[in-house]
């Protein structure tokens, strides 16, 4: 005879299992190449049809062939069967294949277990609020399917799964808070090489920054620990670019040490929550103190000591200033003065303006005025520059339209032409403040490029933003103020927008970014100075008791519904008092029991039992509607008697 696990589940159960697999697969599919998505969806749809036709299983040789085919498909599209992308794709298809195999209860249960494992996959890519909600939805769908495969009616499967998840949520929360965390991950996820969506490239070309604006993806959140700077002061430097080949600027490698020495006149402290961008971290001009996870490098940039893709918190201090003292040696000066053999018009202009100026600052001012007074336009969609090496000339003397990278590139070249060492700096400028959460959000739309010019008179770098000469509103208000229509980014306000961004921030802080520091902070708030084995157990114990309370009250209510306390209590008494082979235990009434005890029992037993039985008679036979408290109290006494008397 077949066991239950060898039997076949109902059609409804099979549908729920396939739906659970679909829910789990959805975010994973978005990471796969289009061909794999199409094949997966087609195969899943085919399985739904086969279930409706009651067609059960593939034969063994068909299964083996299918596995080989899937492996080949995944490998040729992703070039791997292991690792994050290839491994997840392979597991996803294997899970789908499981639904074609066998068809017994056991097979569907294995499929659902595999689905549960797949839930982890997307979390490697994304831990946003949506991911969290999807995770809960997937877990719920899998539970519904498990119940359905276990022969539970669908409506009961839905309610039981919902109920179980809700009741267990608090206990999960306690364990989440109390479990110790490692200072940093043991297995670090490698950075993605694709920086076009979220990060700034290490090469600056015309269009490098303007392309990023469109994605508007989140770069980082920042909280200022004491005071908040004004938006025009918020220059978040990410990398400096000193090498120019005539068309593009190249970031200075981070292996070079920092030789600058920022002042500490105007300190400001802040914490950023972000994943580092290939090791680079943005910092407000100019960083003075970094935390233990990061360090300063060339050009007063900041890098993470260990780079990986997971989100974390960095706390830095900066001194708000537009000047950075640094003594440049001869080699450095040569590096920052290098001019390629092109753009001669610009070189000529630079020399002319420099000759007309008495000081370096005067030269800078004249150059800015040149931009301001010669009909330049700030735009996201400038005319395409030719492919010649004289793009700066074309921009400065012909098109006169560009975005920040055009102005920064041209201005830096102009400065070098006038004999002033200069470099391009890329990063972010400004941000959006959310008062409800008291945090600043910096997105890719805030990406920016500006210039630093070295002043030999002062032996320091001066920050110069040539964009301010064409669009002051960009610096003061952001891209949505400067180019509302071109950017497609209106200043988003409103309750829902604020709520969404604040929720996202709090989610980052307390869920995704819940690390050792946050745990220590929470434990201190609970009056526990340290996170150690004892305090963890204490939190689990107390938290567990608190969160188990709803479960306890629910359990008490439900279990009380199962029994009649007077009958059950009386049965307990009889079981304790009467011999095990007594023939008429069930039919014996309270008076008979009392008579039995008086005949066979000790004085002490009679003394304990008589009032108990008399109370039972009163509650059960004399009172028409005894109160629940009295009844349950009597039951507790009966249980206590049973426990204490042998």
């Amino acid at each position: 005879m077949k066991t239950f696990r060898q039997s076949y589940p109902s059609q409804t159960a099979q549908y729920t299992a396939l739906i659970a697999l679909s829910v789990v697969s959805l975010p994973l599919l978005l990471q796969l190449p289009a061909l794999l998505i199409a094949i997966f969806l087609f195969t899943l749809f085919a399985r739904f049809i086969l279930v409706s036709l009651n067609i059960v299983a593939l034969k063994a040789w068909q299964t083996i062939l299918a596995i080989i085919g899937i492996a080949a498909l995944v490998y040729f599209n992703i070039n791997s069967l292991v690792g994050r992308d290839g491994g997840i794709a392979f597991l996803l298809f294997l899970a789908l294949l499981k639904s074609f195999e066998g068809g017994t209860v056991r097979d569907w249960q294995v499929l659902l277990l595999a689905s549960l494992f797949l839930v982890v996959g997307p979390l490697l890519f994304d831990q946003s609020i949506l991911s969290g909600l999807w995770m809960a939805l997937s877990l719920w769908a899998i539970l519904v399917a498990l119940a359905s495969v276990n022969q539970v009616r669908l409506k009961n499967a839905l309610s039981q799964a919902s109920f179980a998840l809700l009741l267990t949520f608090p206990l999960m929360g306690v364990l989440f808070i109390a479990t110790p965390r490692l200072p940093e991950p043991l297995w670090k996820m490698p950075q993605s090489s694709d920086t076009t969506v979220s990060g700034l490239s290490e090469t600056l070309n015309p269009g490098s920054v303007s392309e990023l604006i469109q994605s508007n993806s989140l770069a980082f959140n920042a909280v200022f620990n004491d005071r908040t700077p004004g938006k025009p002061e918020m220059y978040w430097r990410l990398m400096t670019m000193g090498e120019f080949d005539g068309t593009s600027w190249q970031a200075t490698p981070t292996r070079y040490p920092n030789t600058s020495n920022p002042t500490t006149d105007n300190p400001i402290s802040y914490t950023m929550t972000m994943a580092d961008q290939n090791g680079r971290l943005p910092a407000l001009d100019y960083p003075t103190v970094v935390d233990e996870q990061s360090e300063k490098r060339v050009g007063a940039t900041v890098v993470a000591k260990n780079t990986y893709a997971q989100l974390r918190r960095f706390t830095l201090k900066s001194s708000l200033s537009n000047r950075l003292p640094e003594n440049l040696d001869q080699l450095q000066k040569q590096h920052y003065l290098y001019l390629s053999r092109n753009n001669y018009q610009t070189q000529s202009l630079g020399k002319t303006l420099s000759a007309e100026s008495k000081t370096s600052e005067e030269f800078i001012q004249k150059s800015l005025q040149f931009i301001e007074n010669n009909g330049f336009k700030y735009t996201l969609t400038p005319p395409k520059l030719d492919h010649s090496p004289n793009q700066i000339d074309t921009f400065l003397f012909q098109t006169k339209q560009g975005f920040c990278e055009h102005y920064a590139s041209a201005f830096a070249f102009l400065m070098r032409s006038g004999g002033l060492p200069s470099r391009v700096v890329t990063g972010y400028q400004g941000g959006t403040y959310y008062p409800d959460g008291n945090f600043w959000q910096v997105r890719s739309k805030d990406a920016h490029a500006w210039v630093e010019v070295w002043l030999p008179e002062y032996q320091e770098w001066l920050r110069v933003d040539p964009t301010s000469a064409v669009s002051n509103s960009r610096i003061n208000g952001g891209i949505e103020d400067a180019l509302p229509e071109e950017s497609g980014l209106q200043n988003q306000t409103g309750f829902w927008h604020e709520l969404q961004q604040t929720s996202q921030f709090q989610w980052q802080q307390w869920i995704v970014g819940f690390d050792v520091a946050k745990q220590n902070m929470l434990f201190s708030w609970l009056g526990l100075n340290r996170v150690n084995a004892f305090t963890i157990l204490l939190v689990i114990l107390i938290g567990g008791l608190i969160t188990a309370a709803p479960i306890f009250f629910w359990w008490r209510k439900v279990s009380r519904q199962q029994i009649n306390p007077l009958s059950q209590g009386f049965l307990l008494l009889k079981e304790r008092i009467l011999p095990t082979d007594w023939a008429s235990t069930e039919s014996m009434g309270p008076i008979e029991l009392l008579a039995f005890v008086k005949e066979h029992g000790t004085e002490e037993m009679i003394k304990k039992l008589e009032p108990l039985i008399n109370e039972l008679i009163k509650l059960h036979y004399e009172e028409t509607n005894p109160s629940k408290q009295k009844v349950w109290r009597w039951y507790a006494k009966a249980k206590s008697f049973r426990r204490k008397n042998h």
Partner: protein
């Protein structure tokens, strides 16, 4: 079901509400696999520092603990057992009726295992509709209904709750009636005992449970109206017809006990159908006509 290890289960009397101490709980293979997955997810979360994965592993663990409570609720408070009503002959199927009830109308789903047979019951009412399991009968005599094992893995299949209900029922299986040419029967002159049949022919002698096949004209309808019981009237006979003698001695000595029982059973049933008075003569004694003669006779033949 040999895989169920029931030796540690203490049977509970039927119709006793199941309480916590009557249950045996253990995780299923699926449940253990779930725990392994939770552990694997936790290891991944720890190593990659993915907080959402931590949440997932803890949620699975908390949920597994919850499954113990939910599964035990499938059986807690349940009371009932197996019953059989009516006559049963060899070759018939014994319709064992499982009747369960509880004080609450929460959803329950469980299996009742009876020897190697299993039936699935689910309901969200306090009185669970009767479920019938047909057991084949192959020989006459007592058919002992073994202890019932109640098993539930609902709702999710992660934990198994088991309880045992003591069976107090045993069914007497009557022999199969084998049609054959009836040998001529003896009269009652040699019989001992009396028959209660000496008064007027229309006088009611006794009432007995209505048997399938009997004429509806003989049904005591007034009794039915009052008590909702179908009873047949048995009348006294004025004539001196003595009861037919149905005797084991009517058959060769080498007739097997089973066959003999079958033959005698046939004759009894025929006599009952025709409302004929009879006496049954068996090696160990005689069963004269009486109110409960049918039951007594068939029982005696079951134990022949």
């Amino acid at each position: 079901m040999s895989q169920w290890s029931n030796h540690s289960l203490k049977p509970v009397a039927q119709d006793t509400p199941l309480s916590w101490r009557h249950l045996q709980l253990r995780p299923t293979r699926l449940g253990l696999s779930l725990l392994v997955i939770a552990l694997a997810v936790w290891v991944g979360a720890l190593n990659y520092s993915i907080n959402l994965a931590y949440m997932l592993s803890f949620w699975i663990l908390a949920f597994f603990i919850m499954a113990y409570l939910l599964t035990s609720l499938q059986l807690l408070g349940l009371r009932g057992g197996a019953h059989y009503h009516g006559e049963l002959f060899v070759g018939d199927e014994a319709d064992i009726v499982f009747q369960f009830s509880s004080l609450s109308n929460r959803y329950r789903a469980f299996h009742v295992v009876l020897d190697e047979y299993r039936v699935f019951i689910q309901s969200d009412q306090d009185v669970i509709p009767d479920t019938i399991l047909a057991l084949p009968t192959t020989r006459r005599g007592y058919l002992v209904i073994p202890n019932l094992i109640l098993i539930s893995t609902a709702p999710f299949g992660l934990v198994q709750a088991k309880a045992s209900l003591q069976s107090t029922s045993q069914i007497l299986v009557y022999p199969r009636a084998e049609a054959h040419p009836i040998p001529s029967s003896m009269t009652n002159t040699e019989l001992e005992g009396t028959a209660n049949t000496q008064k007027g022919g229309d006088d009611l002698s006794y009432l007995n449970e209505y048997q399938r096949g009997e004429s509806l004209q003989h049904v005591a309808w007034k009794v039915f109206a009052k008590q909702r019981r179908l009873l047949s009237k048995y009348f006294e006979s004025e004539s001196a017809h003595p009861p037919d003698v149905i005797s084991y001695q009517d058959y060769p000595e080498n007739t097997s006990a089973d066959r003999l029982a079958s033959f005698l059973c046939y004759r009894i049933l025929e006599a009952e159908k025709m409302h004929q008075s009879y006496s049954l003569v068996l090696p160990k004694g005689t069963i004269p006509p009486s109110r409960k003669q049918r039951a007594l006779a068939l029982s005696a033949l079951s134990m022949l």
